[in-house]
Symmetry: C4
Subunit: 256 residues, 4 copies
């Protein structure tokens, strides 16, 4: 069986594009950042990707319409002062098994070979396990030149401190073997909820690195909404705890 299915929707022409991977991960930091880019810059979807190793399910979306597990490729042309072409990989899932993750990254990179990618950026989250006030962006890369570029825009460089798991690590690793240089940007996040604040911080660094502008107002709003939702949830939890200690012995199973 062919492992990864790539359905091309449009034959595109791009010049030495930057490839940005932003599949869902910790805090959905990369995914939120990339989805925002796609909306604001009107990126165009040109391929849909399916794998037998995606979770065996669908999501029930708006008004009952089902959403398949999917990865998608978008492109943007002539971006910013360097007239960059960009290819973005987004989606609602990653592969489940180690081997599936590897093959998916490898198959996608090989599909992209004809576009003569100039550089890889992978976007992820760096979990802190506790609330983060002012999320910093951390980085790692395949070569010293890239490390320097990351440092120039104020990205903190990780060193000898663990790994980068999933697509954000694998694209750098497999890309490196194919002669492609790349960098990983990781936004600090508690890891407990979708983190629009970390996504905005990441977008600020990414646009500085790639020299283009993007309006982040909607991401601001999203961050505000999430903060309010979290505060509400904390209040409700507190009320439940109060009520529960007031009526100990009652069966609380049906309150929730």
């Amino acid at each position: 069986m062919k492992y990864t299915e790539i359905n091309v929707l449009e034959e595109i022409e791009v010049i030495n594009p930057i490839f940005i991977e932003a599949l869902p991960g910790l805090g959905h930091v990369g995914k939120l950042a990339a989805d925002h880019l796609i909306d604001e810059l009107e990126a165009v979807k040109f391929a849909e990707i399916y794998s037998p190793s995606f979770p065996p399910q669908v999501f029930v979306g708006n008004e009952g319409i089902i959403e398949s597990m999917i990865n998608e490729l978008y492109y943007i042309k002539d971006l910013g002062e360097d007239n960059l072409d960009i290819i973005l990989l987004v989606g609602n899932t990653q592969g489940l098994s180690p081997e599936a993750q590897y093959m998916l990254c490898k198959d996608i990179l090989e599909f992209l070979e004809k576009f003569e990618i100039s550089s890889i950026y992978t976007l992820g989250g760096l979990p802190t396990g506790k609330p983060v006030e002012d999320p910093q962006i951390f980085g790692a890369a395949t070569c010293e030149e890239n490390i320097k570029k990351l440092e120039e825009v104020g990205i903190n460089i990780r060193s000898n401190d663990g790994g980068i798991v999933g697509a954000s690590g694998l694209f750098l690793s497999i890309g490196k073997r194919k002669g492609l240089e790349g960098s990983c940007l990781m936004g600090e996040t508690s890891g407990y909820f979708i983190d629009a604040e970390a996504a905005e911080a990441m977008l600020n660094k990414l646009t500085e690195l790639l020299k283009f502008d993007v309006n982040t107002d909607k991401l601001d709003e999203k961050a505000k909404e999430i903060r309010e939702m979290l505060e509400k949830a904390q209040k409700m939890e507190q009320e439940l705890l109060n009520r529960s200690s007031a009526s100990e012995g009652d069966d609380l199973r049906y309150i929730g």
Copy 2:
């Protein structure tokens, strides 16, 4: 290795059949409904399906005769006022691994391609985790037209509320990519036992949708039997609890 083995028992002729998936799942809601259809409408088995990824076991059936893990395809012709042809997928198991589930659904859909399926229905259970008095049927679909049809017969439409796991989700997802529209019907069920009541509720909606009649007396009886069995089990549990608190310290391990 060829992943899925499909042994054709009879070459059949059907006209744009409806494909109904009803493999075992939560509360066996879909399976009970489909097994009842097969019995009442004298559906004919025309193919047996085996997969290396079924659980590596057999069941010990009636009088010691073993039952293989199997999926089966049945057909019914000229049903109801629309003279519908129907193909039913039933069985005693689903694939175990994510990849196996995917390949199984894909291989079965590709085997069915020659029959020019007109629509897919997948039948499943929606777990509530607590007893259900009057089980409602919930739905989701691949397109708005189908959502409307479901609403017309009083099916509740889910929206942005999680997923549909296993074959009931995968057949819709893979079918959609092959240009096939489909709907999923989910019967509310506690999920703790085989739920004939939910199956009957589902059958009522399905027959209204597809405009044919089926006698549900046997399903009624089954629902009654299960209710009685559950009541007996609850009584026994209660007695055991009473006896146990009366003789605390005794070793109860051998009572059961």
Copy 3:
């Protein structure tokens, strides 16, 4: 990759042999019975079987010589009053994944096809979870004729009571699809240790079924040894418990 590797050591000539599967399982009931048959009847090994899905390890055997994970085929000719030829499958492991177990059984059955097997017997254990005084043998089969044969020698027939997991189930299931009839013999065992008593009970039934004799003295001895070992272990455990309650607070971690 070819999934199963079968290295033939000797080209054999057998006439419609009985195939007996006795891979390790609960209480090693089948394995002990088959290993005893091989010793007593001087069965000859004619093939070694390896699979990538065996546990990734070796055993350290006698005097440091390593033992590979392996399945082995033996044969015996002209046995008993029916001049039976027999092929035995034994080994120190089964496949790990569901798919591996399936492919292993399928590949072995297909390798054996040229010998025109007349019948399959699979030998396993039936766990009771508590000590067994006088282990009974239970059976299941692919057809009513076999059930009758099992009943004639006093084997208890299971009915609608769960499954047969692993090779003992799969060989019957895959064999049935290839037109081969078969039976499974299961010896009652606590499941907590290697059970020579259950193995002897099983051998008595098997030899009655297949009409040949085998001396079971060595299996008797083994059963006696195991009983003595268990009694010793129980005594030691009791002493440890006594000492422990006498010196509570001491660090017992280094006693064992």
Copy 4:
């Protein structure tokens, strides 16, 4: 898909080399020993090995440069009084699934076939679960001749006492089937940390077996460093425990 990727960096000429496997395992005993050999004897890397079944991640190394999951082959020529050629297998991971481990070992052995290996040595750790004062080396082998050689240099021979898991077992097992003899050296280790002391003990036996010299000063230093680090860690843990019992009730979650 081809399971294992072997990228040859240099076509080498070696004469009946010894093959030494030292992938990471318990206490990293084998890995430390082999890494030390490579440094001291200036072994040359001639191939890099990747597998889809390595963990789907990269490590963040020094100054943010990422390190791929990798296995590597090194060679050394004309070593010691027997003018031995040696091929070493090292790396930062083993395969994850049983099947992947098997295929990796098999593919590597088949790649090495052209070099006409004379013997296999696999290096591993033997976990004790408690601190080890003077780590002993234990051995097992594919044949009695090798057992004798191990005994001659004072290696303890294991007997009927469990298994050798992972590459250290599989290379012996698959090698044996290909007509290659081999031995496994296992260094006693607590298993709780990287164990340079056990690695040095192992190196002493290995060099005695293969009759060459290697300076172990750096390994001595490393062992000293690790001992000091462990002592510091124990002190810190003790202080934390003291502080914790002094201020019971405080939330200690943020101290660490």
